[in-house]
């Protein structure tokens, strides 16, 4: 047993690194007071070290800590996405005026960013229902605290309260589902659950009830309709850096966890070997539920976004819609679908973080997130406005940007497997999304042309971060071969051939 634990620790370096950085950030903050930039740089270094260890793990496929946790190429891909997002979020936080106004201590803020990252890394590899629950809770608790970090403004603590209430209820539902599943199968390990269901004799009605309850928990994390009610309020009330973090990394982790649970738990090795598709077992067609949720998520996300005037809220609804697109990739039930989700996440990372970054910069300069205050921005801050426009084009999914590649692979996967109607709903939704993205575009370039504009000044570091985000958005739109290869090589979930 001791040997097994020691062996497991060797493959657990990224997470251990983050725990050490977490403790270091808290302790250093106690010793060196009021040096947030110093702590930020330690945290950044820790994230890079963790990233190095993650990349070292590519190609490994093992189950560690008595089958509690899995390291495989599938989790490595999502860990890279999460760590990249965390690095960008730390960069944003160092520049954000909203946070660095001297009113609050930031040492712990960076510690919570690390603990949230740790929770999400654990989510990507959890192979035991208990570990899934604990990692979701670690992520959620850190994000409740971070969402309420601007507590002197009432809407931040209000958002935080709504978030924790919805979160606690949905995790209660998730737990009830897990407890029923445990009663049915006698195990918490998803590989054992799969074995028991394969043997047959598991009551279908109870299995469906358990999974519906669990989908509430998963749906909350990826903000799928109808479990999305917290999203707009929390995205608006939280510091914008955290909003950006939640909209990308938290979703990626939620998808990784959900895909692992469903694909491993209901995988039929005999049928899948024949036609390359995962076949569900026990008579439980869970992908139909996901298909319905996916249609609801993208449609409601897009149509509600049309009415929004606050850009943070608008981007919140747009991120709900994007979760809906990505859920279509789960419905397909084959490796092509999983790799399409991965490609989508890689492109979504840059374009969505970029959009939030520009909104943050503009809000810091002009003090408003309202869509009307963007009138004439194309003349006040031409560079940033053009960059913002590129992110919006990419979010819509038009060539030659990365967003187009993400959507292309997703729709291709749908059509190849015969889900034509779902692909059509997806395309129609993209058209709706064009409408509200164009509204921002129009305000920036076509309104208030005649009046004199006071140019807005940005520092060189702002331009560097903006370029770090916009260059991948454009490059991945034209030269996407390596990303696609990486994603297709990373579909291997341990235990699925």
């Amino acid at each position: 047993m001791l040997q097994q634990i020691l062996d497991s620790v060797k493959i657990f370096q990224p997470e251990i690194t983050l725990v050490i950085v977490l403790c270091a950030a808290i302790l250093i903050d106690l010793i060196v007071k009021n040096k947030p930039q110093f702590i930020a740089s330690i945290v950044m270094a820790g994230l890079f070290v963790a990233g190095y260890f993650v990349i070292q793990q590519s190609g490994v496929a093992v189950s560690i800590f008595s089958n509690m946790f899995v390291v495989d190429s599938f989790s490595v891909f999502f860990k890279v996405i999460i760590l990249l997002t965390a690095i960008f979020v730390v960069m944003f936080s160092m520049q954000s005026k909203e946070l660095n106004n001297g009113k609050r201590k930031l040492g712990e803020y960076y510690a919570f960013v690390i603990s949230m990252t740790l929770g999400m890394l654990l989510m990507t590899g959890a192979s035991n229902l208990l570990m899934m629950y604990l990692s979701i809770e670690l992520t959620s608790l850190s994000s409740y605290i971070l969402a309420g970090y601007k507590k002197e403004t009432p809407d931040s603590s209000e958002a935080s309260l709504k978030y924790i209430i919805y979160g606690a209820v949905s995790s209660g539902m998730l737990l009830y589902g897990i407890s029923i599943l445990y009663g049915l199968t006698g195990s918490l390990n998803i590989y054992d659950v799969n074995q028991v269901i394969q043997q047959g004799g598991v009551s279908l009605l109870a299995l469906i009830a358990a999974n519906l309850l669990m989908i509430v928990g998963f749906g909350f994390k990826i903000s799928a309709v109808p479990f999305h009610f917290w999203t707009p309020d929390v995205y608006e009330g939280a510091p914008i850096t955290i909003t950006a973090f939640l909209s990308v990394a938290s979703k990626a982790a939620g998808f990784a966890l959900m895909i692992r649970y469903f694909f491993v738990g209901y995988y039929d090795p005999l049928a899948s070997a024949i036609n390359g598709y995962f076949t569900t077992i026990g008579g439980f067609d869970w992908h139909i539920i996901i298909a319905i949720l996916s249609v609801a998520t993208m449609t409601i996300g897009n149509f509600t976004a049309v009415w929004q005037n606050n850009l943070k809220r608008l981007l919140a609804y747009s991120s709900i819609a994007h979760a809906g697109y990505m859920m279509m990739g789960v419905v397909v039930l084959n490796n092509e679908g999983i790799s399409a989700i991965m490609i989508y996440f890689a492109t979504y990372l840059f374009m969505n973080l970029g959009a939030f970054y520009i909104v943050m910069l503009i809000a810091d300069k002009i003090g408003s997130e309202d869509i009307d205050s963007y009138k004439g921005l194309g003349y006040k801050a031409p560079f940033m406005a053009v960059v913002f426009a590129i992110f919006l084009i990419s979010l819509t999914g038009l060539p030659p940007t990365a967003g187009f590649i993400g959507k292309l692979y997703l729709f291709a996967a749908l059509i190849n497997s015969g889900w034509i109607w779902l692909a059509i709903v997806g395309v129609l939704n993209s058209v709706v999304s064009l409408y509200y993205y164009v509204r921002i575009f129009r305000n920036m370039f076509l309104r208030d042309i005649d009046i004199e504009h006071e140019p807005i000044k940005f520092s060189p570091s702002h331009f560097i971060v903006a370029l770090l985000l916009v260059i991948p958005t454009l490059v991945l739109g034209l030269y996407f071969g390596p990303l696609v290869d990486f994603a297709q090589a990373s579909v291997g979930i341990l235990g699925i051939k």
Binding site: G148, S157, L161, V169
Partner: protein, 100 residues
């Protein structure tokens, strides 16, 4: 001898009382109490299955649920207190600067 289904039925009743509390009550602290009811019913289900299946896994799970429930309650009440300082209310109805 008490059959397993009696325990499951009891926990289902407790769970639905908790759900109704969450849906219908307006006081944030009562909502948190209702959430604790839900978690207690989950724990009861897990312990009952654990006893009747004859494996300890369910019981072990409950320890972790207890831990997380304590952590969640602590953070939740801290948020309620912070909000109360700002707005002097704990009623969810009155907390509505933000809408659709």
């Amino acid at each position: 001898m008490i059959p397993l289904n009696y325990y499951l039925a009891l926990s289902a009743i407790l769970f639905s009382i908790g759900v109704v509390g969450v849906l219908a009550r307006r006081n944030a602290i009562i909502v948190f109490m209702s959430i604790e009811l839900m978690l207690n019913s989950v724990n009861l289900t897990l312990v009952a299955f654990s006893a009747y299946l004859g494996n300890a896994t369910g019981q072990m799970f409950v320890f972790f649920v207890l831990t997380v429930a304590a952590a969640e309650a602590a953070v939740g009440l801290a948020i309620i207190i912070a909000l109360f300082r700002n707005k002097m209310t704990v009623n969810i109805d009155e907390i509505n600067i933000m809408k659709w």
